[in-house]
Amino acid sequence: MARPTRTAAIPEPPEGGAGPSPLFAQVIAEQRGREPFVPLDRYIPTGFACRLEALMEHAYATGSWFLFTAFPGDGKSTALEHFEGAHAPSREPGGDGSSTRIVPVLSTRVSSGVQSTDRLVGALADELGAVPRIGPSRTRAWLVGAIVRAKVRMIVIDDAHELRLGQLSYLRELTDQLKRRGVRPSVVLLAAVNSKEPRSCDPWRLIVKDPLVAEQFRRRLNGPDPVVRVAGLSEAEVGRVLRTWELQYAPAFPELALARWAGSLFTWLTDKRNDTAGAGRARMKQLAEVVHAALGLAWAEERPGNAHDGMDLYDAALRLTVRGDASPVFDVDLDELRRAS
């Protein structure tokens, strides 16, 4: 296989797949007694995360409604988690020995398990504290009072592309009831899209499908720019992320030199087979997978100084690209392996 160059696009996978599988290499090394390589789980303020958090800070400050969209794997949930950490819940002591939980940012995630409005109500209520087993109507009434008590300033719905129309209507009803009690929280819907056009995402399509609903929402959404797409990582931002990883992994990988591969990685990750939407930006999730696969391979093979190779990064990027097209077969005689070791 030819050595990759900085600007070369990912070639077609060779017959029989790419190089050695990092997964198999790590499993075999673990069977031989080597400790597994576990990637660090630390927040990195990437360019994408900073942009998204800046937008959410704006919404938090102004109390307006937004629909923020991004590609899957850009790091929306991670950025939201960090944003919540910056506005963490606290306890406000009362005069009679009680303490009230103050939740500035009330966030929940809509998934396949939260398809009904009642489930959304329950999910929001759970974020405020333990809730008794009372009926749905009583829970809705309780939630309004609880949001007022918790002094919520912002409601964030993650994975909002799975919202249903009934749930959207409930959000509107909830904010109306809060408004009557003098509370006007901002609402941010975080949705994933698969094209460069943010208005193609599900919540917006649900809104505009019904003219009456669209009209009701339009009054609440931020006037000129209600739907915003947050761009992924540029080449320079990829370089900064790689440099951060170099520092973080320095104790275990003393000879790590990732930043020099920023251009190549950006090129490989924005290949048309990875970047199907043609955004021209790298995604944090894919970048982490490639780098961690290469580090895992270097760790498993116990190279001097755990130094990785540019070829490892290329192989990992290639594996990521052809993922799903070619499935490696794990066929190793572990008994023989253990006897040999």
Partner: protein, 475 residues
């Protein structure tokens, strides 16, 4: 334990607060219906009907106590301190049932204690026999004015009053009336005094009692029991106290201990005293003629009295109350507490006992070969008092020899009757002999001979009661 997320509004337990009260305050602060918090921490095997029981907070078994603590951000053991679990487990051991505290049919509340913002249900109100609030001096309420019992949690969570409004915590589950608006009836002086005594007794028994407190209470109550039953101590104007009056051996629960202590006006601290093993070191035999004079070797404790410990000497039979000699059978006892006449009367009484015992033993030796010394004392009508069995008095030895039993501390070859003249010739007039043994009863000790059958039948036909052949007057 289930790790629950904290409640939105967490409350801190107050001093002496009862666990259901804490849950109701949680409900009120968090805008839950009554029982909302209970429904979160209720164990899966607890039914809703059990939530209405008055004993639900005694041990807190129905609820995840550590879960309730985590709901309020408390230490794991903080909620257990709001129940009576620790105290009951100290007395009865782990796995104790709430009934060991005693039965209280309904939850009681003090209308003054539950007023906002205090909202306090005291732990003491859960105790049986507690009918008044110690702080406010008013009767506790067990029912609303509408007649419905006071229940902390409704069996239906979203309950509404007759006007359709949701019933809030600290309100009647039937009519929705606030508990603080219930009538406040002051305790009378006697009731207040009795409540103080009950509270003090609980404080001592539950707060300081150990695993032996029930046994100690039975012992203390039993010592007091002899005279009390005769003098009607169980008559009380407090029905709850009166219905718990019982004999010491039936006492099993804490409330029964407390009720009997209060009824008999016994200081509750007495149940904390351990029973004394062996004679008190200050108790000595004070009979100068006794071989154990000045020592405690033969001293035995017989009972506890209000003015001292009563003891006796197992050697000479003298009785002492504290350091005072109250009875002796020896004129040279050297005690200034006893007159000569008293000793002479005691000696005469002893002689009478000896004669009656000798007769009864002689009789039972012929008729009942399995008779024991106790039977003879009973048949002779002699008190079975411990001091009468003292060695030097010789009553037990006399009976044992007549029965042919070995005598403790005596050579087995020396079975000679030292008092052959104690039994008069005609003693059998006072005893009822079986018919077949009439003719053959010998004058000396020995088995009676079998009578001729024909002679016996002839005597029955004549209608005469069988008598021994030799008769005479009693000495």
């Amino acid at each position: 334990m289930t790790a629950w997320p904290a409640l939105q509004v967490a409350v801190t337990p107050r001093r002496d607060e009862f666990m259901p009260g804490l849950m109701l305050r949680d409900d009120e602060k968090n805008d839950f219906p009554p029982g909302g918090t209970a429904s979160i921490v209720r164990r899966h095997d607890a039914s809703t009907s059990q939530l209405g029981k008055s004993s639900l907070g005694i041990l807190g078994t129905l609820f995840d106590r550590e879960g309730l603590a985590s709901l309020n951000g408390l230490e794991p053991g903080a909620v257990t301190a709001l129940t009576w679990r620790a105290e009951l487990e100290r007395v009865f051991g782990p796995g104790v049932a709430a009934s060991r505290l005693g039965l209280k049919r309904r939850l009681s509340i003090c209308p003054a204690c539950v007023r906002p913002p205090l909202r306090l249900i005291r732990r003491q109100t859960a105790l049986p026999l507690m009918h008044g609030c110690e702080v406010h001096g008013i009767w506790l309420r067990t029912a609303c004015v509408c007649g419905a019992p006071i229940e902390p949690f409704g069996r239906v969570v979203d309950r509404r009053d007759p006007e359709g409004r949701l019933i809030a915590p600290f309100h009647c589950q039937s009519c929705g009336r606030p508990w603080e608006s219930l009538p406040r009836q002051p305790l009378g002086p006697r009731d207040e005094l009795r409540q103080r005594r009950v509270a003090h007794a609980y404080q001592v028994v539950l707060g300081r009692g150990g695993p032996d407190v029930i046994e100690n209470a039975r012992r203390v109550l039993a010592l007091d029991e002899g005279g009390r039953w005769d003098h009607g101590w169980c008559l009380s104007d407090d029905a709850a106290l009166a219905e718990r009056a019982m004999e010491a051996r039936h006492v099993k629960s804490i409330s029964a201990v407390v009720a009997n202590l209060v009824l008999r006006e016994i200081p509750p601290e007495r149940v904390l005293e351990r029973p004394r093993e062996g004679p008190h070191p200050d108790l000595l035999c004070r009979n100068a003629e006794c071989p154990t004079y000045g020592t405690s070797g033969a001293i035995r404790v017989s009972s506890e009295r209000s003015n001292g410990t009563e003891s006796y000497c197992a050697e000479c039979g003298s009785r002492f109350l504290g350091e005072r000699t109250i009875l002796s059978y020896d004129l040279g006892n050297a005690s200034g507490d006893l007159s000569r006449l008293t000793v002479l009367h005691a000696q005469a009484r002893l002689a009478d006992y000896a004669a009656r015992l000798a007769e009864a033993a002689t009789f039972l030796a012929y008729t009942d070969r399995s008779a024991e010394v106790d039977h003879v004392f009973h048949a002779a009508g002699v008190p079975q008092a411990s001091h009468l069995r003292a060695r030097r008095l010789g009553l037990v030895g006399l009976v044992a020899r007549r029965l042919g039993r070995p005598v403790r501390g005596q050579n087995s070859s020396d079975r000679r009757d030292r008092h052959p003249d104690l039994v008069a010739d005609g003693f059998a007039d006072r005893w009822s002999f079986p018919r077949f043994a009439v003719a053959a009863l010998p004058t000396e000790a020995g088995p009676p001979a079998r009578r001729d059958r024909h002679a016996s039948e002839a005597a029955e036909r004549a209608g005469r009661h069988p008598r021994p052949e030799s008769t005479g007057s009693r000495r």
